[in-house]
């Protein structure tokens, strides 16, 4: 047993951190936050050049072929930097769906384009209120044509293509659902940007009207593929969340050392110390759960579904906990647009919902633990 990243992986983390510190300062994030650009194009290009977009994509499809542990390491840094780029939608969702279910031709078409930063992809799953569930999929696919509305779709307004979940049967069960690849420039696609909790990562509504759809994976396999994609993305997002939680904790700690009140550093007040200690506790538990998820993901272990749900819940809680208390430690300053605290608060709360809410993952976790115990 060795429950840690390797020296090479840690080196990659340092490299990613250095790169992001330079290229993704809070000032750069604010350009997107303030609505002056839909995402940071220069950063996206830089990430491609560093090989970060295709780190887990096999070499034959234009990636670095390193693996998922390496991707986890980079994900953590993306979260720390609060990077305003469509990394999770493209790399965790679209690319993973292609890796799991894509035909050779589909992989050849899209994966190199993802790795090189030319194509942005996303997953179009949700349709208004509710969590991932076959019965919440109303968009239909018949005779190669998609019809219906998806919302919210992460980075939908800037994506080049989407993996779309659609209904192809009427039994009401999981095998009614199939996945499709849609080029979002095709006729019959209409995209509308939506205001959302975290402007550094856009959300959109996408309407399909008799739009051409190319099957991804076998008909009726959609739900099982989706479950795998969501599990993988849960682990990867957990690393982003851990990175964000750590950064929020660090910001709070630094402020507690700088700010003086009643003639003392506020960090010498126990109420503040203990709040920061609790932030550390939640971030540490999340990190440990995420490491286990990373191991399960990288080895494709039978434990992945349970590990992914645990990492997801723990990291969601930790990021929300650290982000909200970071504002509290900052007092009034923390509630200004000028300070960066709210960027992490926004990201934490948006990320808590993006792959289905805690309620969904709690259900998943308990179901999976029951299954394991029964086995």
């Amino acid at each position: 047993m060795n429950f840690d990243f390797s020296d090479d992986q840690k080196q990659l983390r340092d490299q990613a951190r250095k790169f992001l510190t330079e290229k993704c300062s809070p000032k750069a994030v604010r350009i997107v936050l303030d609505g002056k650009a839909p995402y940071d194009k220069a950063l996206w290009k830089g990430l491609a050049e560093m090989g970060f977009l295709g780190v887990a994509i096999p070499e034959e499809f234009g990636g670095a072929g390193a693996g998922h542990l390496e991707l986890c390491v980079i994900a953590e840094e993306m979260g720390r930097a609060n990077a305003p780029v469509p990394f999770s939608s493209t790399v965790y969702l679209a690319a993973e769906a292609l890796l799991i279910a894509g035909s050779d031709a589909q992989k050849k078409k899209w994966l190199p384009a993802i790795a090189s930063g030319e194509a942005i992809g996303t997953l179009a799953l949700f349709e208004g209120k509710g969590n991932p569930s076959p019965k919440n999929v109303k968009v239909t696919a018949a005779n190669g044509m998609l019809n219906g509305v998806k919302k919210p779709v992460a980075d939908g307004a800037i994506a080049d293509f989407a993996v779309v979940a659609a209904r192809t049967g009427s039994s009401g069960r999981e095998n009614d659902i199939s996945l499709f690849l849609v080029d979002l420039k095709d006729a019959g696609v209409e995209v509308k940007s939506l205001t959302n909790l975290d402007p550094t990562r856009g959300q959109a509504e996408i309407s399909f009207k008799d739009c051409k759809a190319e099957p991804l994976g076998a008909a009726g396999d959609g739900w099982s593929i989706l479950t795998q994609v969501l599990d993988r993305a849960a682990v990867l997002c957990a690393f982003e969340q851990v990175g964000g939680a750590d950064r929020a904790l660090e910001m709070g700690r630094d402020y507690a050392l700088d700010r003086i009140a009643f003639g003392r550093q506020i960090g010498s007040f126990q109420a503040i110390k203990h709040m920061l200690a609790d932030m550390y506790v939640s971030a540490t538990l999340a990190r440990s759960n995420s490491y286990y998820g990373a191991w399960a993901l990288s080895t494709n272990a039978a434990e992945l579904p349970e590990a992914a749900a645990a990492a997801r819940i723990s990291a969601t809680q930790a990021f929300q906990h650290c982000a909200k208390n970071n504002i509290q430690v900052h007092g009034g300053m923390g509630f200004t647009w000028e300070f960066d605290c709210h960027m992490y608060y926004r990201r934490a709360n948006a990320m808590a919902l993006g792959l289905g809410s805690l309620t969904y993952w709690e259900d998943q976790l308990i179901d999976r633990m029951r299954k394991k115990n029964a086995a």
Partner: protein
């Protein structure tokens, strides 16, 4: 990152499993499996005797205190092998509970500070459970503020004469030896005037009086010292350096408590898996699931945090202050878990006798023991201070007594 056993680890595991399979006291397995914090008694046997017998058997075959050096009664194992052993030992590991202070704290302190001949004489019988040790730190005037202790040690020739009182000393009533923190100089600031010893608990002048705990059990004691004489060669560390010696003990304490603390979660999950509520199975209830999931990720987070710590240890790092997290999280969790399990039982939850209560009263026992878990080995507040100050680098608490000679510090809060 790798969770699989290496070939050597797999071999170690197989050997351990075979030996445990052939030698463990199987007749108690079921009872031990079902016991939980607050309720580790055996119905028809004295648990101390059973525990001592099992420990001795392990020691004779080289399975006691695995990570200790061989010459001190251990096996010289790696931290990972120790974990593998714990996994394989399963419920029988609960029998070592009464040795935890000796093995986890006294032993490492002896190893770091005792003379070689003492290590060779005292450590093997400690490892084998033949001799039980206790930790005599806390006093009525000094628990969290250990350095506030008043038990005096005065030099008399080659001996020290001890007078004073310790309190909450776990296992003192069945201990053979103890490590003892004393004040040797009251005229200097409190941290500077302390000295550590080890002593024979049967020494003349040592009196142990069991205290009845809030839970009803009597696991800890008051210990009185009246002109107890300790030879100078039983001193651990330099005169006046007792604070540093005790920090070594406490760091080890945190590691050994932190790694093994129970959270109550496996018990709760098992219980909810079969429990029927008014509206159907508990495990299918939304609210129950949300609670379970929340605790599940804490329990797994702790498990993997300690695995990360063990990985670090196996690379040669020392147990650091970040290990305080285990007890901090598990302590209040077990209290909350027990409270919730009783809530699920409705009015019946109030019945606590093992014969009549649900699942033999295990959650009632946990509930009544849990407050002690949050206090022993450092309270929640002290754990948070440690994390804030030593992990996050925040300022230390303001200490008004820091530079004051010990005998000038006020002793009462009011009046």
């Amino acid at each position: 990152m790798n969770f699989d056993d290496t070939p050597q680890e797999a071999e170690f595991r197989a050997t351990a499993r075979a030996w445990i399979g052939a030698n463990a006291p199987k007749q108690y397995e079921d009872e031990l499996r079902k016991s939980s914090l607050g309720r580790t008694q055996l119905k028809n046997a004295n648990i101390l005797e059973v525990a001592k017998a099992w420990q001795k058997k392990k020691a004779d075959a080289g399975w006691a205190c695995l990570h200790w050096p061989k010459e001190y009664g251990g096996r010289g194992s790696s931290p990972i092998e120790r974990v593998i052993w714990q996994q394989e030992e399963g419920p029988f590991g609960k029998l070592s509970h009464m040795f935890i202070i000796g093995h986890g704290m006294c032993g490492p302190t002896m190893m770091a500070f005792a003379r070689e001949e003492h290590k060779r004489a005292y450590l093997p019988p400690l490892a084998s459970g033949e001799k039980v040790w206790c930790q005599l730190f806390s006093e009525p005037a000094g628990g969290s503020d250990v350095a506030g202790l008043r038990t005096r040690a005065e030099k008399d020739g080659d001996e020290w004469v001890i007078n004073g009182q310790k309190i909450w000393t776990s296992g003192a009533h069945y201990s053979d030896y103890g490590i003892l923190l004393t004040r040797t100089d009251p005229t200097v600031p409190k941290h500077k005037g302390l000295t550590m010893f080890f002593l024979d608990m049967k020494s003349p002048g040592v009196e142990v009086r069991p205290i009845k705990q809030a839970s009803g059990a009597s696991d800890f004691n008051e210990v009185y010292f009246t002109n107890v004489r300790i030879p100078d060669h039983q001193r651990l560390g330099e005169v006046g350096d007792g604070w540093n010696v005790s920090l070594t003990t406490l760091m080890n304490e945190r590691m050994s408590i932190g790694a093994g603390v129970s959270t109550g979660f496996p018990e709760l999950f098992e219980y909810c898996s079969s429990l029927m509520l008014d509206d159907g199975p508990a495990i299918e209830d939304r609210a129950v699931r949300a609670k379970l999931a929340n605790w599940a990720v804490k329990a797994s987070g702790l498990r993997y945090t300690s695995m990360r710590a063990i990985s670090a240890l196996s690379k040669g790092e020392r147990p650091g202050p970040e290990n305080s997290i285990g007890k901090l999280v598990a302590g209040s969790m077990i209290q909350d878990v027990a409270t919730y399990a009783l809530d699920l039982q409705g009015a019946a939850g109030v019945v606590s006798g093992p014969e009549d209560a649900e699942v033999a009263g295990r959650f009632q026992a946990m509930l009544l023991r849990a407050p002690g878990t949050r206090v022993e080995g450092g309270t929640d507040e002290i754990m948070r201070n440690i994390i804030a100050e030593r992990v996050l680098g925040l300022p230390g608490d303001i200490r008004v007594d820091k530079d004051v000679p010990f005998n000038k510090i006020p002793t009462k809060g009011r009046g």
